[in-house]
Symmetry: C2
Subunit: 150 residues, 2 copies
DNA sequence: TATTGTTATACTCTATAACTATA
DNA sequence: TATAGTTATAGAGTATAACAATA
């Protein structure tokens, strides 16, 4: 089944093998990301927040949109990260109701360190491929992830 | 950064682009899996349990091992799934302390339906690739995920 | 003594609903 | 009236520590 290791090909479902490989790659990659986060006492969601805010300053609602979460969920999430001095809140200049969220210097520093950690942690996987294969894999993934609608 | 969309190449870190693509593919795939689970009132963890038990009968501790969770976490997880008639518990025949967990008929039926749902939900992505590209992507992912240690 | 599973407890993540303050 | 964010509340997922039963 998908997400498991057995790839039983249903007749006519020629994508099962790829779907299975994608699911397994996803779980493996997520495990690496989760561990990199846990090693720094972060949840996967907190890791994503740091990644998203690395080059952006967003309102609470916009951040919720990026994460696919409810705005009420953001309050606690940002509260905890702010208490740890990773994020900062500031009232929006243009809208009295809105609150901007952005990385603190410490948060930016941690985000940078996490990037390095993750690249290193994934290298046992990526190094199984030759350079040309890595480029090919990257190209195929990007093509698959591209927003093009054709 | 990794997990975000901006791929800033650090000098010498030639894997950043691939790591970014892997992370984005992981989040996209996990989003599909999470939605397929949520559409059936399951968490991602419950989905994984169904997938793992699809062709296995495991003890609580072994199941915890597959999931990378503590055994104490399994109790509640299995409790809830058992209450919904998706899983069943039975005392181990060989060890009086152990408890076997396995899919109920309803659980197996749901696991099968989920597989179909996921393949369909991922098809907008996979269909962006030509058949030969899909096979190539699958091969590269499998090579990367292979347990070989060279 | 060591292992298997459960229980007790606590914290994070998440959602829904109700609230406030701005627009 | 509608939107931005918070608060209150509740449930799932997770871990640690202590425990009972069995090995």
């Amino acid at each position: 089944m998908v997400t498991s290791s057995s790839a039983q090909q249903a007749p006519g479902a020629a994508q099962d093998g790829l779907v299975d490989a994608l699911a397994r790659a996803a779980f493996t990659t997520m495990a690496v990301l989760t561990k990199a986060a846990a090693d720094n006492d972060l949840s996967l969601t907190q890791l994503r927040v740091l990644a998203i805010l690395r080059d952006r300053r967003l309102r609470m609602t916009a951040l919720a949109g990026y994460l696919g979460l409810e705005k009420s969920t953001m309050t606690g999430l940002v509260d905890r990260a702010e208490k740890r001095r990773l994020l900062q809140r500031a009232p929006s200049a243009s809208d009295g109701r809105a609150v901007d969220v952005f990385l603190s210097p410490e948060g930016a520093e941690l985000a940078g360190r996490l990037t390095t950690d993750i690249v290193h942690a994934l290298s046992p996987l990526t190094s199984k491929l030759a350079p040309a294969e890595r480029r090919l894999l990257q190209t195929l993934l990007e093509q698959m992830l591209s927003p093009h609608d054709s």
